[in-house]
Symmetry: C2
Subunit: 399 residues, 2 copies
């Protein structure tokens, strides 16, 4: 075992949340050490929705010009009934939306955002990035510092640790003994050149086809050069308790009753790979001593709000602001960060579950859902304000 490397702030995990947190902390003057277990910084997955709450964060980090160049700015989020093909409602994300929330709604390739964050971290001399460091153990030291051990035998002594290590976070074990919660839904993804697209699909919008136990999401990414498709469905095999579930036979069965547009859309996903989707229950705290959690490690959520990465970016921004305010007073930084973020991120976890149930409901629920959707005005932002409006300044308590 080597002697530990002494570092100030140590971030575990080099995904979108960890990178953004490192960047925000560094911009606030903190030296940051970031450990990523993979040999390279890469992002699996495909399309990424970035709501105005997260676009504001990217702008504050100075990244908006680069993001803008590779993003697509949809006109709306269009909800369609996946069984009948009926248009249900559109969330207008045009000028009125941008004015209200101070930023646009955009969609992009996840790897494009990761690339932009990585380049920004590399050009920030307060940040040290290390690959191939799989954190295996995190422990409080008697003086309040934190010891972090990696699988390769490397050891760090950090003044504070941010666990940004995702759904299956190792760091979270210091805070909670909970386990991921399986949704019983499987997700299939696909990306294709825009030129291969059926002419009739709305090219300028995020189109969401919702139906009983399934949905299909389609939108353009990367300057409109690529078209992203995600198909998600509830597995009957999972409900029966079978270990092998979510395969392409079930995919086809679940979408058999869908309208022709959706059945065509399903052809565009990669049938060789799929994801079983998980989240976790909200926690009452993310912090233990000088260790806190961020992004999916803190509040993994189902994808229905398109807010997983966005909430991680909000976390990073909040952390950066606390560092700017409190400098190296890590206890204050961590406590105030958690106080600012816990409520909204927990609400996003809960709301994402409910939103998914609303998408996937059948019978009388579907009837009521469609009534609500078809009745609402396209520029009714009542239900998006909590998510997209800037939060009022937090009262400062006990610091």
């Amino acid at each position: 075992m080597n002697a530990p490397a002494h570092v100030g702030l140590l971030v575990v995990g080099g995904g979108i949340g960890g990178m953004a947190a490192a960047l925000a902390a560094a911009r606030a003057g903190r030296p940051v050490h970031l450990l990523e277990r993979a040999a390279q910084f890469t992002e699996i997955g495909a399309g990424l929705q970035v709501g105005p709450n997260a676009v504001r964060v990217l702008a504050d980090l100075g990244l908006y010009p680069r993001v803008r160049d590779v993003a697509v700015f949809p006109e709306g989020g269009v909800f369609m009934d996946a069984l009948t093909g009926e248009h249900l409602t559109t969330l207008d994300v045009g000028p009125a939306f941008r004015d209200r929330y101070g930023a646009p709604y955009l969609v992009m390739h996840r790897s494009d955002l990761l690339e932009i964050l990585l380049e920004a971290c590399r050009s920030e001399n307060r940040i040290t990035l290390e690959n191939g460091r799989e954190v295996t153990h995190v422990a409080h030291l008697p003086d309040g510092a934190v010891q972090v051990d990696c699988a390769d035998g490397s050891r760090f002594r950090a003044q504070a640790v941010i666990g940004a290590d995702g759904l299956n976070s190792r760091v979270r074990g210091l805070v909670s003994a909970d386990e991921p919660v399986c949704s019983g839904y499987a997700a299939y993804r696909g990306i294709m050149p825009m030129g291969d697209l059926d002419a009739h699909i709305g090219e300028a919008s995020v189109v969401i086809w919702i139906g009983p136990g399934m949905h299909l999401v389609q939108y353009p990414i990367r300057r409109g050069e690529l078209y992203n498709t995600v198909a998600v469905f509830r597995s009957d095999a999972y409900a029966r308790g079978e270990a092998d579930w979510g395969g392409p036979v079930e995919l086809d069965e679940r979408f058999a009753d869908a309208c022709p547009e959706v059945r065509r859309g399903i052809q565009h996903v990669d049938r060789s790979r799929y994801w079983k989707t998980y989240d976790r229950d909200p926690l009452s705290t993310w912090t233990s001593g000088r260790v806190t959690l961020l992004g999916d490690a803190a509040h993994p959520m189902l994808q229905y709000l398109g807010q997983g990465a966005c909430q991680a970016l909000e976390d990073a921004a909040a952390l950066g602001k606390r560092f700017a305010e409190y400098g190296d007073d890590y206890d204050k930084v961590l406590a105030d960060y958690e106080r600012q973020r816990l409520h909204k991120a927990s609400r996003a976890q809960t709301a994402a579950r409910t939103w998914g149930e609303i998408w996937h409901t059948d019978g009388i629920g579907r009837l009521l859902r469609n009534y609500i959707f078809t009745s609402r005005a396209h520029d009714d932002y009542t239900h998006t304000d909590w998510l997209y409006l800037p939060e009022p300044a937090q009262p400062k308590v006990g610091v």
Copy 2:
């Protein structure tokens, strides 16, 4: 076997629909013979909701002054969440409602209405009422007349027959071989003196507490002297296929999670007697030769719209108008009556099922239902117009 009695119009069944039909036909100049199988004209059941569509019929028959004297005029239909006790919405049936529909909404004792109809029939010398005549067989005769046999050996030869013999209609067998459809819900009823009422219950409204698989309806009747309670619930024993279902043990189980107000309300039903509720699927025709159906015999419906008796009264009014127009041309009368009534009554059957599902939904359906209910304006009549507005004059086709 006696020689058949020759009659013109024969009505089978002396409930609200049959009486009203006899009265409407007689007022239009037709001699009417009405057969009731019971030894007396009586009405079981308790409270009766009379929407403005039916109040208009009673007014046209000259019965409104007598009805008004025994009715109660609620201010609204108040919907409450049976689990939380939360107020969900009110359908304002005050002046704006009365103006819109040309009549008030009222509630009364069922036996009060039957008594009023019976007295009117008795004072109408074109109507012959006979008790103790249980119709056992109805058959078309070669000349187009209809032969009706009773259990007591009496036989009638009628120019036309109106089957107003309720859910288990014997006459309906000439038109359709269908069977009643069991809802799997049981209903308990109770009437108590208004003086025994808990002070806090809204005395001036129809109060409907809705919850998962159950509901409770409360309103005053008989000039406000009595208070009517109906408790309805879905039986798990029925769902399991058990023959013995709907008993008071299940009643208590289903309402165990209800709010205190509902649990108190349940105390007011008679636990010694309950009804298993049934309806039937809509038919494509009610008529076979010179036999047609009316009221529950034609379109039995679940009680959730409070429209069973109201639709029967609409039937009676339509029949009376056709007799006024076509005299004794029974073929025209029956065809045109059915053409005017079939669509709306069928819609009421279907809508009542859906409305019940909306009341009884759980989970995400309940969330969406409560959102819709709490969002609507009390004087939003969008969803009641089809039921309560006078129908436009029907186009005459092929007569």
